[in-house]
Symmetry: C2
Subunit: 435 residues, 2 copies
């Protein structure tokens, strides 16, 4: 198996045992972190031919993006600053009707290119025509947790469930295990309890994770109370869904009982601070969720609502919002913010073997270049990454031992082509929708 | 006078008369925007020798950073996630005691390098040993509004006021008018009314702007009420300070009466959303200030508390926080966010002839490269800059007609040297403080 040595890196392991940061070498073999050798002990791996000098780099686990809709990059900036319902009904849904298979593919490739460039090594996705997203993920080298979105309001739901079973068979574990398939019931308000029972049956049979939107807006919580007399987490709980591994996206409008349910049922949460602000949904109670022991990861949501896929931004927002809203600067300190963006996401998604730099873990790691004005002087690399760095500082990205970004350039895909094809798809989509 | 042509740019003028964006050429002569020629009319300036192809660039007015302490870059990441008082008393002030003149200079150079790279063409500063900051600003080519910080609690206040008068004489209008000197009474709680009277006298005599911290924390508002029986804006008003041109930084804890006073007295406000969150100060009532007609600009605050000087981040935060806190996605739309970060700041600082792309205005402008994944497809360049772009996308910076950044590289200063000297200063400062 091929070996790769990251030499003299400033290592930020984000594990429980090591120092917060130290100098060392990382030996990667196949897709695995074989050894981490702190300096001055490092040395002895000089026989490795493929060496990357990381002297000016902080190396940490790659970001785990726990929620998104990658192909919606084609609609980035198409409609902004609008109320949620008219944004969806007047702008997004009418365009989505005209999406074709190639649009899904190139939209996903565009988002994956952006995510890799910004240090995301695992992304989560819920959309449709998901085979094309899986194809893009497999080709690009990124790790993915994918779900076909399920709407249970009409007869299409049954068909989509069947297609999900087929999608799992076709794709789960592909690309050397990089492709993970999950189930994607869209939300409590689009998947009534009787439909959720069918989702649960397939989830139990397949053993796969369930991803769902939950309590994103105050409006949907009110509607749920009106229709069912309970709040959305309780509705899901009564339907039996929370007995399964579930990651719930947004969770902005939670009361203390909701939080207790999510904690007790070990539900993972995808916290999307940027999207929640931009769509006017609100600010999720991150600290209350963490205090209750909920497994929280961070997500960007789709690029039509965020409008980028920048996990550094989300990490910073998660920390700054927690501090600012509670008027307590000690909340969500730098290391916690970094953990949320990496291992927190892995744990929320139920993925093992990623999210920390540890021997035996998958080699999903990223390097931030440190020789930029805004990261000088280097008093505390963790504070720098949490509070000062930019996604553009990501210089090196490795997933499953394979280099995807080197010196800031995508080395496995053709970025120029992706930008050109995504642009073409976006504008022909709009033309098509106007006919 | 030398001419420079920006050819085929996607122009975002942020003025009141033009389209939000259009293709065109910008002819710069000396330090001034001489002509803006929309396409397809453009052409006829082919005799200009110095031409920059801006086909893949959005060109807009440079950012105006309305509040900061540039030399504190030496303490970036030195202490984070701490309560404000112990951060100041246990960490920052003890270090500041040991700052030497060269530290001020190299700390300022580091911050200016970062700001220029991120598209800031004017910055505002309040600190001490300000001649060295002025020197750094003059050399680097950036536009600056500088104030020696004034504390009126002891006999040092008088001396500092005298030094301010000398600083104005020495520096105001230097570097072809790029250096503007203002007065810097630190805050109502460090400058009692009797001292403010002396500040007012010098401000009236010199005709210069006054910058001051105002109502940053809930604590200082409570203390002001205890000590004086009025809230800080009223205290300043009763002292007569608000009859002068004033820019007040932070303004987080304002009640409706405070807002009325600031509006009526035409006080400019420097809104620092990132610093206010990170220090746990809170969220300023941006929309209420705007509705009242207050001139609001954006600021980064110092790099020890933010921890970068990224105006793109501040612009995005200003918009997203307004939307998210009020749960209204229509608030502070993209164009408004861009205006706050540019002409809003110029107006809050009382600077004329910058902040918009207009014929006859100073040539302070920046170009964002558009051929990056996160700005594809180009449905709406204003939304892209407000919601998706990164400071790292800034490729071209021109101040007063001079190119300071080209193809993302600083062309007037030696970035490597600045990073090395700032690092050296920061670590010798810490050594010195430990002796």
């Amino acid at each position: 198996m091929s070996k790769l040595l990251l030499q003299n890196a400033l290592i930020i392991p984000l594990d429980d045992d090591s120092e917060d940061y130290y100098r060392g070498d990382i030996l990667i073999r196949g897709g695995v972190i074989e050894r981490i050798i702190p300096r001055p002990l490092a040395g002895g791996a000089e026989d490795v031919k493929n060496i990357i000098d990381c002297t000016n780099m902080a190396v940490m686990p790659g970001f785990v993006n726990t929620h998104g809709h990658a192909s919606m990059s084609l609609m980035r900036g198409y409609a902004d600053d609008m109320p949620l319902q008219s944004w969806l009904e007047d702008k997004i849904w009418p365009l989505e009707e005209y999406l074709q298979s190639d649009d899904i593919y190139w939209g996903a490739q565009l988002s994956i290119a952006e995510m890799i460039k910004g240090g995301t090594t695992t992304f989560t996705d819920m959309y449709f025509e998901m085979d094309r997203v899986a194809e893009a993920a497999a080709e690009s080298g990124i790790r993915a947790v994918l779900a076909r979105g399920l709407i249970g309001l009409d007869s299409g739901g049954e068909e989509a469930l069947k297609d999900t079973a087929r999608f799992i068979d076709d794709w789960h574990g592909e690309a050397g295990g990089r492709i993970n398939i999950s189930l994607g019931p869209h939300a409590p308000y689009t998947c009534p309890p009787e439909f959720l029972k069918k989702v649960i049956a397939l989830a139990e049979k397949s053993g796969r994770l369930v991803q769902i939107h939950l309590s994103e807006t105050a409006f949907e919580v009110q509607e749920c109370l009106k229709q069912y007399g309970v709040r959305p987490p309780q509705l899901l709980n009564e339907a039996g869904l929370l007995e399964l591994p579930v990651i719930a996206a947004h969770c902005v409008h939670l009361d203390p009982d909701d939080i207790s349910i999510l904690a007790e049922k070990r539900v993972g949460v995808a916290h999307n601070p940027g999207s929640n602000l931009k769509l006017g949904s609100g600010v999720a109670p991150l600290c209350s969720m963490l205090e209750a022991g909920i497994k929280v990861g961070l997500g960007t949501d789709g690029p039509a609502s965020n409008n980028n896929l920048d996990m550094v931004e989300e990490m910073r927002l998660a920390s700054l919002l927690a501090k600012g809203i509670a008027q307590d600067p000690t909340l969500v300190p730098a290391k916690k913010a970094l953990q949320l963006a990496t291992r927190g996401g892995a744990e929320a998604l139920g993925l093992t073997g990623i999210g920390q730099l540890r021997e035996g873990y998958r080699a999903d790691l990223i390097g931030f270049k440190l020789d930029v004005p805004h990261l000088i002087p280097l008093h505390d690399p963790l504070a720098h990454l949490a509070y000062a760095a930019s996604a553009a500082d990501v210089d090196l990205v490795i997933v499953d031992g394979a280099i995807l970004l080197e010196k800031g350039k995508l080395v496995r895909v053709d970025e120029d082509k992706i930008r050109a094809e995504a642009t073409r798809c976006a504008f022909t989509l709009i033309e098509r929708s106007k006919k």
